[in-house]
Amino acid sequence: MTMRSVFDIGVSFVVRATSVLVLCAVVGMFVQMVFVAWPLTQSVKVTPLADAQNNIIASERTPDWVPHSDLLPAWRESIMGRVWLREDSDGAISGAISPSMDAAEQWVSLRFNAPEIPLSVLFIDSTQRWLVAVANDGRYRMASLRMDAVEWGNIERIKPFDYHAIGGANETLLFAAARSVRQYHLLKTAGSLYPELVLARTWQVSERILGLAAAPESQRVLILAGPQSIELWNATAQQRIAQKALAEPMEGIGWIDQHHFYAEAARNQQRRVWKVEGNTDAITLASLFTPVQYLGYPEPSQVWQTSSVGKGQEQKFGLTPLLFGSMKAALIAMLVALPCAVGAAFFVGFFMSNRARNRIKPIIELLEAIPTVVLAAVAAVWLAPIFLLVLPELFFATITAVLGIPVASALWRFAPASLHGSRYHGLLPLLLIPVILLLIAAGVLLGGYVEQQWMSGSLTVWLHEQFHVDLVHLNGLLVGIAMGIAVIPGIFSLAEDAVYSVPRHAAEGSLALGASRWRSFRDVILPLAWPGVISAVAIGAGRALGETMIVLMISGNTPILDWSPLTGMRTISATLAIELPETAFSSVHYQILFFAALLLFFITFLFNSLAEVLRLRMRKRFRVLAS
């Protein structure tokens, strides 16, 4: 064996080993993402605790806030936040507000009346601005705690109820009557001084409801449905997440903490305690991708709002806006990149002389060397602030360039015959550069003129007045241009290779038969090269979908559902970059982010597989052609 063959064997081994490694890495990444996101598919587990543990956990939990007994001996209502309340013997409600955390000693006493209503709920919302008093018959009044004098709003009415609970970090009131649970939230409408109690969600259980309890700081609701069945619901999802049949009939239920609940046969009798584990957020594909009724929103909506202020506020995991944003960004980028990249690829790959091609191609490919973060920074710092000012110029320059180039080519026919010699043929595009510059200059002037004359000097004002279209600086068009520039070299390079690698003799045949160069390209080269071109486009699209820095810095990261290229977007990739480093490990948020990553991986994988299939098909054709 010679040195050379040993070397060859070595190299081939290394190549094979690395390709296996790469494959393993891809599979490993996939498995890891599935592994992290997997708990989302798990159902909730409710396990009874052994008797020995019952006593420890069932002992009374100390509440976060206790009334200061020296100051307020007679107070018997529970305390929420910084406002203390009681119902006096004459039916009046009086309260005290601790005006400041800085000055806990200063107390302001308030006295206000809620006559004739036998109260069953006295409730202060989480922002501590509203006091709600609800009577058993469904009548309620609302008082504002922010004004100097506390005043009651009008008596309104909700449906009568049998049981009530305060849930989800004091954001919501739950009422139960017969077999249905109704969840109300406070909604403030324009012009009204007081918010209203509005029905947010409602759901039915199988048996008559004998008890209702909301878990602290969450949207989990425990329902005693009939004497011998406990149901656990997630209010946000309006889904039953667990059910437990009871051996003996029970009368009361309640929560010990977020993850433990109890049932008791009679008040303060022997309690039985259960532990709740698993995916209690009831995240399903439907909740991720369809509108959900959230508290504080007038209608079901698709919202991505993963942080919460204070414990227990609903986290809103609507993936649709993110998926939509990724698609929108990639689509606009492709609309910008496709004509440029593919057009250039056709021209360089077929029409240009070899000599010119060898110089031009590396120059375009050099664009790929620009890190996307640099592109993004330039776009954010330089282009974004002036983008709306130069939009008319940009628009008209594009139009004049696109329309002007064919006109210029047509005029070229009238050029002196001496210029038409083959000597200059490959350099023809260079001749076009001054023409394009002239056309762009004309477009810029035209744009400026049109804006001055017809749009009274400002495109943004004109668009608003004429069409009620609002322009914002960080928009899809800007993202499209920056990302388009980022993906142009990649698409160009692959598409040009596809065109150039079509065996020349195929075109030479048609040229010899008298077809024009364009005709030969269209009818002979393109039918052979198109799988390669499409594959290049698919790879470019995959890259645009996964691109992060550009969208992170100039898309505005606004999770809105709007196809208009004049609004921004928030992509999956940017969301991962923003949120993943700051998300608690193995939280639901973390799992959902990984699910989104999986989704992105899957989509780009699809695009790349498509590209690979098309490339294989092209190779097969060439083999047929060559034989």
Partner: protein, 324 residues
């Protein structure tokens, strides 16, 4: 020389690892005479986590005999840790509540000492050409909120805020921080009544980016930490509207800026005993020039530029200069 800053912060692990590597490189070049030794455990505020870890890194460079552990699980985690003695310092973005103080007192027989360390202030900024002179909290809710929990109405164009045409006809372009920032959460709590940010609010990855965007875009409004303000933007004062929050406006005359809060360190030490050397050394480092630099870099203000009064808090000198 090896700085051992153990960080149990669940979130900023990666960044801190980089910081640690960097700071040990820096530490190798500085000459330090170790004065204090021991292990300092700081538990508490999320908002302060980044700043405290920066302080800790810089302090360990100066005092290599010290190790610092940081747990940032939120302000509420500080009082129990101090009460149980599992932390030397508690960092909090609010003062301790009455019940927290009560339970501390019941366990230990004396009260913890509060030291104001920084002021976190959010400024509302617009382009210098913007004619708007002031803004109300309700306006901010109308502009930034998705569900308008405070104001009940939306403001989408500058005309909705009473700005005359030309600018009035244009949309309000809203700039802010991403959800991981403490500024984001604080603004949401104070200005949006805990409501959600509208989807159309541009979330930029840094405070400086917000200031830069607002300085260049005539239709923009932004909120940012006070520390990042430049003279390229106009800072809007917040005036009391019809419905200005009294819970947050502590003073009777309403003169306190509503988007400002004091951040605190709580020390657990018996006032009868001499002050703890390690904790005091760390607090003195915070008050030093380098400590203040880090404070400003983090977007906070030092306490002496504080406009809201700090009730009954002891100064550092009063706490630590007790030689008796």
């Amino acid at each position: 020389m090896k700085s051992a800053v153990t960080l149990l912060t669940r979130v900023r692990l990666l960044r801190v690892l980089v910081l640690c590597a960097f700071s040990s490189a820096v530490a190798a070049t500085t000459v330090a005479t170790p004065e204090v030794r021991g292990n300092l455990i700081i538990t508490g505020s999320d908002t302060l986590a980044a700043l405290v870890s920066d302080w800790a890194d810089a302090f360990v460079d100066v005092e290599p005999g010290v190790t610092i552990e940081i747990q940032a699980m939120g302000s509420a985690s500080a009082p129990p840790a101090l009460t149980a003695g599992s932390a030397n310092l508690g960092s909090m973005s609010r003062q301790m509540t009455r019940s927290e103080l009560d339970s501390f007192f019941q366990q230990r027989g004396w009260l913890p000492t509060a030291v104001p360390i920084a002021v976190d202030t959010i400024a509302i900024i617009v382009h210098p050409d913007n004619p708007l002179e002031s803004i109300t909290l309700d306006d901010l809710d109308s502009i930034y909120s998705a569900n308008h929990a405070c104001s009940g109405k939306a403001a989408t164009h500058w005309a909705d805020l009473g700005v005359a045409p030309a600018l009035g006809a244009l949309p309000v372009e809203r700039y802010g921080r991403t959800s991981i920032s403490g500024t984001y959460g604080f603004f949401r709590e104070r200005a949006l009544c805990r409501g959600d940010f509208a989807a159309g609010v541009n979330a930029l990855p840094g405070s400086a980016a917000v200031v830069s965007a607002v300085s260049q875009i005539p239709t923009a409004i932004g909120y940012t930490s006070m520390g990042f303000i430049t003279d390229q933007v106009k800072v809007l004062p917040i005036v009391s509207g019809r419905d200005t929050s009294r819970v947050q406006n502590y003073d009777a005359d309403g003169s306190v800026y509503p988007l400002s809060r004091t951040l605190w360190f709580y020390l657990a030490f018996d006032p009868q005993q001499p002050p703890p050397r390690l904790e005091c050394a760390f607090l003195q480092f915070i008050a030093s020039t380098r400590g203040r630099e880090l404070l400003r870099d983090g977007g906070f203000e030092p306490v002496d530029s504080l406009r809201s009064k700090v009730d009954g808090a002891l100064t550092l000198a009063e706490i630590c200069n007790d030689d008796a």
